[in-house]
């Protein structure tokens, strides 16, 4: 037998809105998302809410419940008093689309700006060998479900919209840390990039990102602070510099990072190839028929179409297809023929020394 509970839910869109009161039935064992669904089925059929898995693994139902950034599918009603009014609002840091749905494309832009894994030059796929002890630090960050609660709660952009262009946010700091700690990542300037391009210095380690993470990733202690310390290695610690000079060991030498990084989906760099699809070179194709040819040329990917603002049309409401465009390019279809399973090294176009 359920009981009636009081809810206040923000209703509106970019032109304005306010908190509206609802009395809704709540049953034992339910979570906030269940109550929102009941509201949609009863009093508020036009209430907009983004959700998907109801298991805390898709990161879709992020919202603010009694002022705290939470996943609504993981917030049990039993954590509230029976006479407590539960206030539900959309994420504050991002532009609102409608009701509880916000436009989180800021995060996808920052994701595109974050340099990807760089495979080692002298190791072919299939030959990657890593010790568990070497990858387990990175694996913690792979738990991220991209709910963007950490991005939402970070006061650097939550309270200062003007910092958005210069600040990537905690989710992408742990992405940088994940790759910088990866035993096979060949990119050597992630620390400098994190400091100069991603705005690592804006973080004042007040740990709100860690507090709200539903996956309990120690974002600050295991990701951001180690990255800050790695920046210190390069920029501020002469003892480390001296040690690396004397013993010729440690990490790679100082490199410089410029602001010439690309953003946007269409900025395919020279020499970067699709990791899927067949080659246009007949000889390579013939060789591929005999077995896997790791080094054949493959065509450049076709970037998905962008809208008038130069962004991916990420909403299915307004896109002409049933879902988001393929990140592999529209020229690649699945399943791939087995003989086309391939890998091309990003630097394969560069002359060998």
């Amino acid at each position: 037998m359920g009981t009636k509970r009081q809810f206040r839910i923000w209703r509106g869109d970019e032109s304005g809105g306010d908190l509206q009161d609802y009395a809704v039935e709540v049953n034992e064992g339910e979570v906030v998302l269940d109550v929102i669904h009941r509201l949609q089925a009863t009093d508020a059929p036009d209430l907009a809410c983004r959700w998907n898995c109801k298991a805390g693994k898709c990161g879709s139902c992020s919202m603010e419940i009694n002022g705290k950034p939470r996943l609504s599918c993981m917030t049990r009603m039993s954590t509230f008093e029976d006479d407590e009014t539960v206030t539900v609002t959309p994420l504050r840091t991002f532009p609102v689309i409608r009701d509880l749905v916000t436009d989180v494309s800021f995060n996808y832009e920052k994701a595109r700006e974050t340099p990807a894994f760089a495979p080692p030059a002298d190791v072919a796929p299939g030959e990657y060998r890593m010790q568990q002890v070497d990858v387990e630090r990175s694996q913690e960050f792979r738990k991220c479900i991209e709910c963007y609660l950490c991005q939402n709660v970070c006061h650097v952009i939550r309270d200062h919209e003007e910092n958005k262009p210069a600040f990537s946010g905690p989710r992408f700091f742990i992405r940088a840390a994940e790759l910088d700690m990866h035993p096979l990542d060949a990119k050597t300037d992630r620390k400098e990039y994190a400091q100069s391009e991603m705005g690592l210095g804006f973080c004042n380690i007040t740990k709100c990102c860690t507090e709200v993470c539903p996956e309990h990733i120690k974002i600050t202690d295991n990701g951001i602070i180690p990255m800050k310390e790695r920046v210190v290695d390069r920029r501020y610690d002469p003892l480390v510099w001296l040690g690396s000079k004397i013993f010729r060991r440690g990490q790679v030498p100082q490199t410089s990072v410029t602001s010439e990084h690309h953003s946007g989906a269409g900025s395919a760099q020279s020499g970067v190839h699709s990791h899927a699809g067949g080659s246009h070179d007949a000889r390579s194709e013939a060789q591929a028929q005999k077995g896997v040819n790791w080094h054949r040329q493959v065509p450049h990917p076709t970037a998905p179409p962008l809208d008038a603002n130069g962004k991916l049309p990420l909403t299915e409401l307004t896109f002409d297809k049933a879902a988001a465009p393929s990140p592999f390019g529209d020229d690649v279809t699945f399943p791939l023929p087995p003989e086309h399973l391939n890998f091309a090294h990003p630097q394969q176009d560069q002359p060998k020394h």
């Binding site: 923000w10 002890v133 709100c208």
Partner: protein
């Protein structure tokens, strides 16, 4: 009710929510207790540092950590282990060689940064509560860029911990010979906690092994890193515990030196 889908475009407005925060819990309690705790400690330490007395118990060789090493010409004989080369002006602390580094070590500590950014500087006072500033540049500019010097102060703090360890061991050898009492145990506990706090520092964790990419190639450093990581999880607790043990140790030495009560001796 029919609704029209809105098309995302360009810069859009955030949800118009009037309340600055909708949190209903006691989010203000943690910053408040931090302000009270840190302020009380700073006031006590300041008073003690400029008191210039009751820091040395000749009978048992107790030296308070606030005066170690004692380096001004005002220092009591036997309390100065490395010489008295600074003038005894009242404004100069008797441990002028170490106190600035200890202060800077704690000031740039990753835990204390969180504590005072939240509680004193309100950036932000609590999660999802607006920070109290019009503009924010974080640690990208002077003077907060100097937080990156934490590692140097860690090196200094490690050296100072060695000095404190020497003091604690030296106190077992009083003019009557070997002996120990409650004061020795307090000095010893303080030193153990100081080491735990110093070693659990994030900079130490990085230097010990965090900066490596291949733990498998450095098994000893990896073991050390796992130990420091275990301590590092408790860095906040150790930060507060050491504030307590420092104040307690100092107070005990002060009380014994001022003859407010006698040291409880177990041997000799």
């Amino acid at each position: 009710m029919t609704s029209t889908a809105t098309r995302p475009r360009g810069t859009r407005a955030r949800a118009a929510i009037a309340a600055k925060t909708l949190r209903t819990d006691r989010w203000w309690f943690a910053p408040l207790i931090t302000v009270v705790g840190l302020s009380a400690w700073v006031i006590y330490a300041t008073v003690r540092v400029f008191m210039h007395k009751w820091y040395w118990v000749e009978e048992f060789h107790y030296l308070t950590p606030f005066y170690s090493p004692c380096v001004t010409d005002r220092c009591v004989e036997n309390s100065a282990h490395i010489g008295t080369f600074l003038p005894g002006w009242w404004i100069i602390p008797d441990a002028a060689l170490t106190l600035p580094f200890l202060l800077l070590f704690r000031l740039t500590c990753y835990y204390y940064r969180k504590a005072y950014y939240r509680s004193f500087w309100l950036t932000p006072p609590a999660c999802a509560v607006p920070d109290g500033h019009q503009a924010y540049s974080g640690e990208t500019r002077f003077p907060l860029l100097g937080q990156n010097l934490h590692r140097y102060f860690f090196y200094a703090a490690a050296i100072i911990s060695i000095i404190n360890t020497y003091d604690a061991i030296y106190a077992f050898h009083s003019p009557k010979g070997f002996g120990f009492g409650l004061g020795n145990l307090i000095l010893l506990a303080n030193v153990v906690m100081l080491w735990a706090y110093t070693i659990s520092c994030h900079s130490c964790r990085h230097i010990i092994g965090g900066r490596l990419k291949h733990f498998s190639k450095h098994p000893l450093r990896y073991r050390a890193w796992t130990f420091v990581s275990w301590l590092n999880v408790r860095h906040m607790q150790l930060a507060w515990i050491t504030l307590g043990t420092l104040a307690l140790t100092d107070f005990y030495v002060m009380a014994v030196a001022a003859h407010w009560f006698d040291d409880l001796r177990f041997i000799n």
